[in-house]
Amino acid sequence: MPALGERLDPEAIALLPQTLFADGRGLPSGRGTVRQGALLYARLCVQCHGPDGRGGSAPELAGGRSPLAGDYPDQNIGNWWPHATTLFDFIRRAMPMFAPGSLSDAECYALTAWLLERNGLWPEDVPLDAAGLGAVRMPNRDGFDSQWPDRGPPHP
């Protein structure tokens, strides 16, 4: 079989993007405050996600607290998302959609802090950093049942 790949040297390996994991591995240094996050949200996010993250052309981020077991469940960050690290990762790689990848790590911490605060998951006066974010326990963390390893087709 051919082996045509190029082996990367340690310098090139150090430059590779590192996946951010739910236990906080891969979180960068830096910090941001809830207040900074509020200002960034008003500038970059509100036009799609709506005032206070209540939703618009983009999904609701905060606000509704209707339980997941109820008739009209709110699948927003506080009610639904299992990991806070996912929020930081998603903002950093994909938001805002008109300029993805444009936010600094500090700005991503600030937006994450504000969104967690809006969901009652982070105090207003404490800056968010890697240690803090890695320690946030989301209310629905254990609400997902992995279908892998596969146990055959579900019914239905």
Partner: protein
């Protein structure tokens, strides 16, 4: 210009002007300007306009002796083309686009299943799901990097990957969100493709992922592989390493040609039988890890909330499903009409074993004929000849796959999955024929 005189030609009992024929053969609004064939005209002079002209102005033209040959047999045909396009009169066969008005690159386009036959979807009609647009990638600059746990970090250029031994498989890809309008309380009224067309089937060719994993020294089959795309969304998804070794490959070709940009050019991950979002387009990075990334699209999305508040995660397989693609909404039947009920079935778990069709809303079922060959994880075409007797009928199909799994009815699916599952909707789809022969989408 056309090489005949100003007198036009006679076809049937009518004289046709040169301009009108030109227009009939090449409707104006659809042509690519400046492609060198020498025929330029104002846009908008299409077939409909010609028909008006032929009964109006041309009615005054001198009637010549009746001929028997169509006009296009009296003139030289169009010249060669570098890349063929569908007939201009087939311009209605399109992907229907539903996108976010604030983010035009976030949305879907649907495969027009009602207009297609056979088992392969033309590349230009393959469904699309993009989260932030189609990146314009320079293949000379694009690379694939494999790194992480146990791996000696290795990088391939596109040119290098093209030199590996390629595998080819005919495989369907279905978006996990396909058919999610089935969760609505009232059945939406649209042709089958606009409700269920986030599924397509192609012959994909590429490099087995197991070759690249072995080249990078990855031996353990336990753990996860995180695949990341080079688009403005940076979409990344985790899949079990066991599946990666088993039958995944780096897709480089679709239906014999290199991938289209909207299908992942220059390369995408192919994950046979598993949900579409795992077939990461514009693939650029693979990271071996002991745990999944818990990315946004494997936690907050592409998971299924169940009654009781718990949710399914990593529900990778696309379970057996079938659709009647004709007749469909928009068709009208006349009493006594012969109708070839036809459609497609597929299963992420392997071959389709049987497709049953009902014309009485599930009261009775008949085996449909399956078109050979029946391939695993591939569209399987079925048909059942039927004569409509003029009374109300409800047409349904249900697939049974190699595992014995039977495609569920809608009530059974909702009972098990509730109202907010959103993804992996694979219930039986029903089409009612009313006494006037019109077809509607119904829940039955």
């Amino acid at each position: 210009m056309w090489p005949w005189g100003d007198g036009g030609v006679v076809w049937g009992d009518r004289w046709w002007s040169k301009l009108a024929i030109d227009d009939w053969l090449n409707p104006g609004g659809l042509r690519v300007q400046g492609n060198g064939d020498g025929h330029e005209r104002a846009p908008g002079m299409g077939r409909r306009r010609f028909l008006q002209t032929s009964v109006g102005t041309l009615g005054l033209a001198p009637l010549m002796a009746a001929g028997t040959h169509p006009a296009w047999t009296r003139i030289p045909g169009a010249p060669f083309s570098n890349y063929g396009q569908p007939a201009a009169s087939e311009s209605g066969v399109i992907r229907w686009i539903s996108a976010n008005a604030d983010v035009p690159g976030n949305g879907v386009s649907w495969t027009p299943l009602q207009d297609l036959v056979g088992t392969l979807t033309p590349a230009g009609l393959h469904f699309e799901r993009h989260h932030n647009g189609v990146p314009r990638i320079d293949p000379a600059l694009h690379t694939l990097t494999l790194h992480g746990r146990d791996a000696r970090a290795t990088r391939w250029t596109v040119a290098k990957l093209l030199r590996y031994p390629l595998v080819s498989r005919q495989l369907f890809i279905e978006c996990g969100g396909n058919s999610n309008s089935g969760w609505l309380q009232e059945p939406p009224q649209a042709a089958v493709g606009w409700l269920h067309g986030l599924v397509s089937c192609s012959e994909w060719s590429g490099v087995p992922l197991s070759l690249l994993l072995e080249e990078a020294g990855v031996a353990r089959r336990s753990g996860w592989l995180i695949a990341e795309g080079s688009d403005a969304f940076g979409l990344h998804m985790s899949l079990p390493l066991e599946k990666a070794f088993d039958d995944c490959f780096i897709g480089l070709y679709q239906n014999g040609e290199r991938l289209r940009p909207e299908n992942g050019y220059p390369m995408r991950l192919i994950v046979p039988g598993w949900e579409g979002v795992l077939h990461v387009k514009w693939l650029t990075r693979l990271e071996v890890a002991d745990v999944p990334a818990m990315s946004r699209n494997e936690t907050a999305r592409y998971t299924e909330l169940l009654p009781g508040g718990r949710a399914r995660q990593f529900s990778f397989f696309m379970e057996a499903k079938s659709l009647i693609t004709r007749p469909t909404l928009g068709d009208a039947l006349a009493p006594g009409d012969y109708v070839d009920i036809a459609g497609v079935a597929w299963s992420g778990r392997g071959r389709i074993r049987r497709v049953e069709v009902s014309v009485d809303g599930g009261g009775s079922w008949q085996d449909a004929e399956l078109q050979a060959p029946v391939l695993p994880v591939c569209f399987t075409r079925f048909r059942l000849p039927w004569r409509w007797d003029g009374r109300r009928a409800v047409l349904q199909s249900r697939a049974i796959d190699v595992t014995g799994y039977v495609q569920p009815g809608r009530e059974a699916l909702l009972a098990a999955r509730g109202r907010w599952g959103y993804f992996h909707y694979n219930a039986v789809v029903s089409w009612a024929v009313d006494e006037d022969g019109f077809i509607a989408h119904v829940y039955a």
